[in-house]
Every structure is written in structure tokens, then in C-alpha cells.
Point group: C4
Chain length 234, copies 4
């Protein structure tokens, strides 16, 4: 077994979850997993269909997005993943999809308002939509700067990446992260479901109010922090 | 075979129907079944994915939500189930989901109007949306008080829990119940379908009128009461 | 092989197509097939889930909706089927579903406008929505009168049942028919798809115009009548 | 192996992808593949369900839409395919579907605006909606003229068929093409997904702006042209 086999398998499994959860059409998405000790992450190769993807196709890169191991070209979004791993040292996985409802909100350039407990179970802020990138960043090192677009948006909003695992990049689509690649995939599915529910909520009631503070706090704390009582505590 | 095996199997089967019917994403839901003679109910353990759930994982609790048997922590919504079993002595099962359309109506804090016979086949009132809970109840014994939020809403509306198997809790999501756990699951699926149809009805005709009295009565009585002629009479 | 076995099989196959095509939830629908020579039709028993339905459960009735053969109670909508077979001597099958989009239009009490060639490939009128039934018909022989509600609506609109295989009954849901039970099922699926497309068309363009006459004529005649050139001519 | 077996297989595989990708109901669609050396294309027979379609049913036609080989009648849209192959000598496949969202935009007679990078990854113009055809063309050689309706629309907009693989025909539905039949199928799925996202974008934000020039250029060039870096470069 190779030095990076376990990491490649983790990235492979996370990638294969994306079509299973209905989050990607064709190759419109990618997942990665990091190994902090080795200073590398494993990511999907670019443009390879999920139906033919194999563990050994997964590419290993360092945090400068340089290929460390692998015969294929890594995802065209590799530099975005690299920046997030480099800047945020507590994340273990990153996912990017063009999932339908999340992408529609990104195209509408609107934050997804927090309307209910489904949302608050996962984060207690609106899901932020970073503004579309500036022309000089697009024409420059685009994917690298996409990472900083995400990081800067969280900073501007005063949000902590440990408490919010998802963002929309305006005119583009969602990016999510988490303690593991599997958790980042989970956050992608949550983002899509919450995006759909928020859209329907506004269709049913265009004046829908956002969630009251007490419910935000209660639901988030049920699942997170020292007094969490959701799950099996492991 | 253990004392509670049959009850656990009933709860297990009901829980497994939830993902099959498309009513839950990941662990966003739970079903329970009661044994009135033994004074206990069986409920899903908290945060366990449906893909790995086993009959023996099901937790047995009493009507004070105390664990009677089981190695896992029960659903974080256990106290809500307990209150409903305690107060409503004719129900045999309770289900809670965050199904997409039902949750959107709950987030919109709107009753689901009765627009057609699909709805009237199951209940002849609008599906009520209980108001979001008061802050003191949220900060106090939240899940326990959620049960009373449901019970009080029905009382305020003059509705009988035997004639209406579903409710929305404002800003949260649907809860349903029935004579058996399977019937409570059935009601969850009906609630979701009726929620979707009502949303579409208003999209097509924002001035859509609710169902006339004669059709409400006819369709409900086809399926319920002494002159019912739907089904095989068993 | 019994006298009605082939007919029961035809009805059974048609019924089993309904869940497969996503047109029914639980038992919300029924299909029947007629044998004109024997003066009977075969219909789904009432309230029996599709997952357990067997050929031998299918009930044989005459055109007065009297049971001719079968141990189970026939569909609660049997009298509607009986009236249609009795009055329209060229139809071979009838289907009733509560399919989501068709039912939403019925609940909105709106005809489905003919917006495109998908619609015109099958019928060249708007899909009519019969008005909700009068109270005296609802309180009287309801399902029998539902048949006449459908027949009268077509008469009022000057429509020929041979050229239009589908209708909505206001506040209720779609009914469809055809030369065979399979064709009636096909029409149910077409009705649902056309209902969804028409809804989306109006969402995208609230002022969308209905189809021009030349396209209505062309598409309908491609598939129907003596100069049809769609299909294999058999 | 017959002279056209490989071509028939290519067309067969492309056609079978259409129901798998959820792009067709029943027989509402057709795919073809061309062999430029032999001057023929292979197309689905008319009205044959995908569930029973076999490789040997595929019909071989020349660019005048005359049958060269095959026992069945070719798709009623064969002349449209023939015109596109004749006029556009670099395309290898053509697909026509009545996919739900693409058809809704066609029925709304609206171009699909370019709102995001998902769209720009594939084409950098709005997806054009050709006007509904003139009456004399409908009454004349309809399917032949449909081909010219598509070609003329691109000309009028100054668009190059090599850079845009999809169009809507007003009041009708999408047509797509590509270097191979498989690529034309891919474009049909992209068209449907982009159509759905654009609809949702406008639902969420009726004033949504179209994509900025820098992002259009960047995303299209990531995937196309000499500096493309998406995929494996093969």
C-alpha cells in the first residue's frame, strides 16, 4: 500500500458520494481530503466522470497546489482547495459542487436567509454569498484568488470557519468544508437542502421572517459545543 | 426474543420507511411506536444514519422519556414523543421529519390550506401551523414543551387529534401521528405531498379558493367513520 | 385460465405502471380495462397498496358498477369508470390519479393552456378543468355523477372524447382514458408532464401566448388521423 | 458486422442515455450520429419506446433524409437532423428532446440568460430561443424548415455553431449538437440543468444580473480553446 493510499481512498469515497447525493451532474464538482502531517491533500482529477473514477486516479498535491503524486491533472479548482487548507488549519476536507439550488442562490447573488431549525442545526448565520470576483482576480490567478474570496468574505462578516461549513461564491456556486472530507460532503448536501427550503419558504411567504434568536441558539447548541445532546457523543 | 423486540421492530420498520419515501435527508427525522400495556415506546437513537440503523439500536423509553432499555442515546426529540403519548392515549405512533415542502410551510409560518380532495381524504381542516415557541419554552425544557406546543395548538383550533394526524411547528417542521407507527409514517408522506400540491396550487392561482364544504365532508366520510366505503373495511 | 384472466392482467399491468411512472403515492389512483364483448371492466380493488396487489385481486364489474367477479371491494371510484365506459363506447381504458401537477391545476380550478408542441402532439385544446361538482351531486350518487361531470364538460366545450384523452375535475384531480388501459396510463403521464411544463412556462413568462394554430394542427396531425407519419404505422 | 453497425451502435448508445439522464418521457426525443465518410447518419426509429429499442432498429439515412438502410420508419424529426448535418460539416451528433425545463423556456419563448459559471463553462451567450416558425414553413416541409429555423437563428445572432451546442425552438423544445452523438447528449443534459438553474435564479431574484464579461471569458476558456486547462487534455 502506497504512502497516500488511505488519503486517496478518503478523497475517492467523498467524491463518489456527490453523484449519489444528487449534488453533481457529470463532472461538475470535486472533493478533497487533507493529511496535515504529510502536508498534502488528495483531490479528484479534472474532468473524469464519476462512473469511471478509480482510487488510483486521485491526485496528491501540496498546499501550493503542486502535484506530489499522480498521473492525471488535478481538478481545475485545485488552487482553491489549496488556499483553504493552507489558511484554515483545522479543516480536513473541502467540496465544490454546482448543486442546483445552491447554484441558483449564488447566481441570484443572495445570502440564503436562516428561516428554520434545519438551517440552525448546522449554522446560525445566513449562508453568505461572497460577491462575484473582481476582474483583476479573474484575469489573474483565478482559482487561487477564489480561495481568498471565500476567506475574505468570512472575515468581512465576522464569521468563524469552524462554525460555518458552507459559502456561495456569487455568480458561481457553493463551496463547503469540514473536519473531514465526509463532513464537507455532508455540508454540501445540507447547503443544497437548506437552499431549496429557503427558496420555497419565500415562494410561500415573501415576507417570511428569519428565525428568532432563541431558536437559533437552541438548535445550534443541541448539535454543537460542550452541551450538545444530539447524536451519540462520539 | 426480548420483551420489547416486537415493538423495536415496529419502530425500526417505521424509521426505515422515512428515507425510502424521500422524507428525510441523513438523520433529519425519527419515528416511534408505543406499547400501551407496557407503558413504553420505542424510538430511533439520536444521530444514527438510516443506512447503518439496526433493530437492536432502537431505544425503549417511558412516557417521562426515561430510558427503559437500550445502549444508545434516544432521539433528541424523544421528550416531544413522550408528551404526545402521555396526553393522547389513542395514538400508537409518532413521526417527526424535516421533509422539504412541509418544512417550507413551517418556515413560512403558514397553515396549509385545504384546496382539494387529496387533502380532504385525510383531514378536513387546514393543516395547522403552530406558532414558533416562546423564548421561555425554548430556553427551558424545549423538546418537552414542543409536545405541548402541538397539543395546545390543536386545542386552540378546536381540533381533535383523532381526526387530524399532522401539524407543522412554526419555524421548525412537521410532526405526525396515527393509530400505529406505520400510519404516522403514512401521514408524514401525505403531509409532504399535500404541502407540495398546495404550494403549486397557489403558484398557479394565487386566488385559489379552499375546498367547498360538501366535498370536504364527502371525501373525509368516504375514508373515515361508520359509512366509510374506501378500502377493504379491515 | 378464468373467463376474465386476460382482462384482469391488462388492468393489473396498467395499475402497476402508475407507481412506476411516479403518478401515484400509496393507493391514490386506479386504472381499469374494458371487455366490450363481455360488457364488463376490470378495476383495482379499493385501498390495496401497489406493492402487494396481485392479478387475482382485480375486480370485474358491469357498466352499472355491479361486481361480476372478485372477492374484494372495487375502487371507490368504480362508478365513475362505469359511467365513462357506458357512455363512451370507443374507450378501452380509464385511469384516475392524484398526480402532483395535474392535481395542482385541478385545485387551482384552471384549464391547462396549450403552450407548446408537447401538448399539441396529444391534443389540440387546453386540457379542460371541469367545474367542482354541485352540492346535490356530491351528496347524492357522487362517483356516478363525477362521470357525468366529465362527460358534460366535454359536451359544453364541444370536445370529442376520441380526440382528447384527459380532463381535470375541479378541486379533485385528473381522469384520463384511451383505446386501451395502457393508452389511458400513457395519457395520465402526458397530462402530468404537460401540467408541469405549463406551470413552469407561466413562471418564466406570465404573459406566455398559447400555441399558434398552424403548430397545433401540424403536431396533432403528425401523430393522429389519416396523414399521420409519427411512429411505425401500426 | 454490417457496414453501418458501429454507427448504429453509437446512435443507439446516445439514444439510451436520454431516458437514463431523465431527459425524455416515453418516446419524446431522438439522437443521431453521423459518418461523414459514408455521407450518412444513424437515427432512432419513430415512436419506438426506449425500453424495447435495439441496435438493429436504428435507421441509416443520407443528408436528404432518404433511408439508406433499415426496416423501420426513422424519427419524424429526421429531416431536421439531415439539414443540420448537411449545413454544419463539423458536427458529429444531434439530439432533440422535450426535457421539462428546456421545453418550458421554449414555450415561454425566452432566451435562457447566462447567469453563472455553470452556463459559461459551456457557452458564453444566452441560450437562444428561435422564434416560433412561420405558418408557411409549418404547412410546408415542416421538419426540414425546422433545421433552417435553427441555422438562421444562429446566423441572426452572429453565433458560431462550434461554440454553442444548444438552442430552443420557440413553442417547441431544445435541439443540441456536438462533435459526437455523446457530446450532443451531454449538451442536452447541460441545457436542461442550466434551464432549471436560470428559472430558479429569477425566482429568487427577479432582477438578477447576467454574468460579468470577465467570468464568461474565464470559464469558457478554462474548458475550450488553446489555453484550456480543464480535463485531461485528450
Amino acid at each position: 500500500m502506497g504512502k497516500y493510499t488511505a488519503l486517496k481512498e478518503e478523497a475517492f469515497e467523498a467524491n463518489m458520494q456527490l453523484p449519489e447525493l444528487g449534488l453533481v451532474l457529470f463532472t461538475f464538482g470535486n472533493a478533497s481530503a487533507v493529511d496535515r502531517d504529510k502536508g498534502v491533500f488528495a483531490i479528484k482529477p479534472s474532468g473524469v466522470p464519476y462512473t469511471t473514477l478509480k482510487v488510483e486516479d486521485i491526485v496528491i498535491c501540496d498546499f501550493e497546489a503542486k502535484i506530489v503524486e499522480g498521473k492525471m491533472r488535478p481538478s481545475s479548482d485545485t488552487k482553491t482547495h489549496a488556499v483553504l487548507y493552507k489558511e484554515w488549519d483545522k479543516i480536513g476536507g473541502v467540496v465544490h459542487t454546482h448543486s442546483t439550488y445552491g447554484t441558483a442562490w449564488a447566481q441570484a447573488i443572495k445570502d440564503i436567509p436562516i428561516f428554520g431549525t434545519t438551517h440552525a442545526d448546522h449554522l446560525i448565520a445566513d449562508i453568505p454569498c461572497a460577491p462575484p470576483m473582481k476582474d483583476e482576480y479573474i484575469q489573474g490567478d483565478y482559482e487561487h484568488m477564489t480561495g481568498y474570496q471565500i476567506i475574505d468574505c468570512l472575515k468581512d462578516r465576522g464569521l468563524d470557519y469552524n462554525e460555518i461549513g458552507m459559502i456561495l461564491v456569487g455568480s458561481h456556486a457553493p463551496f463547503t468544508w469540514g473536519a473531514t472530507a465526509a463532513k464537507a460532503v455532508y455540508n454540501s448536501a445540507v447547503c443544497e437542502e437548506v437552499a431549496k427550503m429557503a427558496h420555497l419558504t419565500l415562494q410561500i411567504n415573501p415576507n417570511a421572517a428569519t428565525l428568532k434568536e432563541a431558536l437559533k441558539k437552541k438548535h445550534f447548541e443541541r448539535k454543537h459545543g460542550k452541551d450538545a445532546y444530539y447524536g451519540q457523543g462520539c
